[in-house]
Amino acid sequence: MKRRDFLKRSAGAGLAAGATFGIGRYDRLWTDVPGRAKYDMVAIMGGTPNAMFDLGIQELGGIGAFIQKGQKVLVKPNIGWDVLPELAANTNPSLVKRIIEHCLKAGAKEVYVFDHTCDNWVNCYKNSGIEKAAKDAGAKVVPGNSEKYYQEVEIPGGMRLKSTKVHELLLESDVFINVPVLKDHNSTRMTCCLKNMMGVVWDRGYWHSNDLNQCIADYALFEKKPALNIIDCYNVMVKHGPQGVSKEDVVQMKSMIITTDWVAGDAASAKMLGVDTEKIEYIPIAHKMGLGNMNLDTLNIRRIKM
């Protein structure tokens, strides 16, 4: 059955790809056709990060379904650590590049990339390979190292996190695309979509000292939510996260999850990592707060194996 399913789907994908070439703007085709299969989540496995993204985003109607022409787009990868790409502490640079290319092709006026790094930011930007990849693709790489770039915002309804300083570009951009890398985490057990937001705020210490899990969930209340979460599960750091020590920490899962619901994205990622979702406390907290759906059974998930 599965193989048949797979063949069918491949055929569908092929048709879609063909249509792209035939008509030119496949994304418009998808967005304009009423009653199209709208997925909550697309999960892809078995390809290169670029190929998986190309295919996955197409299933969701292309990035043009999320970006309008002339908009400013913020792509927020994880660039937290001064570590080489193969150790998977940061988002895959070629994936970041691919996403930016899609955004610009879809008519984005400007694409920005930044992270509030944990290690020295210059080294992180450089050694992660993301600075070069993003610049090559035509994005603006913006520093996040100084408090000057951050502005105080209210988190209405936050339990522990009632206000926080966020990077000005998060506020200025029209569309925000979250591009976390799935990793083990030493205290929250996993870092992915929601936890990646610790890279857009200035004072992380406050989060750490005021119930980290609650703060991570609270932040998701903030009005500027990601239009899309593209989770890099190609190389996954399964232990010693979030920084890792050596290559032994990495398992090549060759997967990707693309979703509009970041709580669902985190729940699926937890499954990938093999951690009980309940144990990653911020996921059930965010679910209860109504910030997303962690019950994957109730979601319309498109699974593709390449």
Partner: protein, 519 residues
Amino acid sequence: MKSPFLRRFRILFSALVLICFFIVFADFRQIIPAKYINILLSLQFVPSVIKFIDLGTLASAGFAAVLILTLLSGRTYCSFLCPLGIGQDLNSRIGGRIRKKFRRYGYKRPFTVIRHTLLAATLTVAIVWGIYLVILLDPYSIFGRFMTFFARPVIILGNNFLSNILGKFDVYTLSHVPVTGYQLLSYSIPVFFLLLIFALSLTKGRLYCNMICPVGTLLGLLSRVSILRIKIDESICSKCGMCSIRCKSSCIDFLQHKVDVSRCVNCFNCINVCPDKAISYGIVSIKKKEVKTDTAKRKFIATSLALVFGLPFAARAQDKKAPVPTKTSTVKENKTFPVCPPGGVSIEDFNADCTACSLCISACPNNVLQPALMQYGVRGMMQPVMDYHKSFCTYNCTLCTEICPTNALHPLALEAKKLTRIGKVNFIKDNCIVKTEKTACGACSEACPTKAVYMVPYEGNLLIPETNVEICIGCGHCEYACPTTPYKAIYVDGVAVHEAAKKPENKESEKAIPVDFPF
């Protein structure tokens, strides 16, 4: 030579040198490769002497070149290579522009007692006690501190101003750099010297160099036997006194046609200003009448030289009593030793060699290096110390060890640095968020590059840090990341002698590569 080009050459050359030094210290984005910085610094007299004492290699003997240069040509070093001297010339010039009076120097008697006492004191103290006076008086280090304490923040402010404007236009090529000052008290010494040298050079030319600077005095002693000198042709000289008035060193006694070579810094201003073209720079004429030798002075020169070259052995002998970590420390949450930067080998070694030029403080990309107040005791004042409340040492960085001009920080390969323990982690469970608040944190373990700080199960779903000192290198990232105030729940205590840390072991993950979606 009477050519006016001598002076122009001096101005051009010294301007280039000063600009280079300026760039090196102002390079807050660490763009200039260390090897170029090392070339520039290799000719700085005091750092080179200390480096030579440490290494004994020919490559570190830049000071020997300076000595030879001095024997040949007099105190050329002071006008051409010393950044503090060049800076003073610049300031004197500004002084002359402000008030004509500041430009009229005239012949003065030398402050022989003061300058010789200071030189002798510096050398004596260096040998019997430590390099405390060298730290204070080495001209290059004084210049370095001026740049680090005063010029660098101004440059960064300028950068920030520009980056703000560019940011308005959506250009992010320049980034905003937070200006972080140092502890207020650590400004006292640089401020004192800045005021002193600024005032002296503004009004009295090279008085600082000829009265206080021990390097100037030492080279002055040597230049008494130098071959090339400023000479006045008595047959042409009309005794107008212009040379004397324009002499920044106040060393031309035009009535006697004498130039005090021990104070002359070869600025060549007199050559250009002489209306009679009576002044030239050339090989000293042998038809000398000066037959009476001043044996006292010769002895002084000889002993000074002996002291300088004997310093390594004397200093080594001093260092034999290797420091032993005090075991009796019973005070909790107490740092027994300051953390000295990687490459320092031991606090004792480091304190003995560092002239506190602050180049490493300027260059550190993470601003973890701070000028010490009393962390090392009096003799280590102004020397760099790791301050983990301000920042932490970047795991992938060896910059400070690469650029140290005195070899107080030995060059470390990156792999060696990653295994050099400069401090040891200490965990205070009673301060930890996980225990006090019963909420997750793990900021320390997250930050640890070797996983010397790792998490173990605690109550319920919580995880709490535990430490493995064996693989800890004391980078301080845990202490920096720890959010507790005012005392940290995890801190790094310095070690008296740097140690070799174990390489962190890591086993292949048991997790299998998934073949299907687990959801």
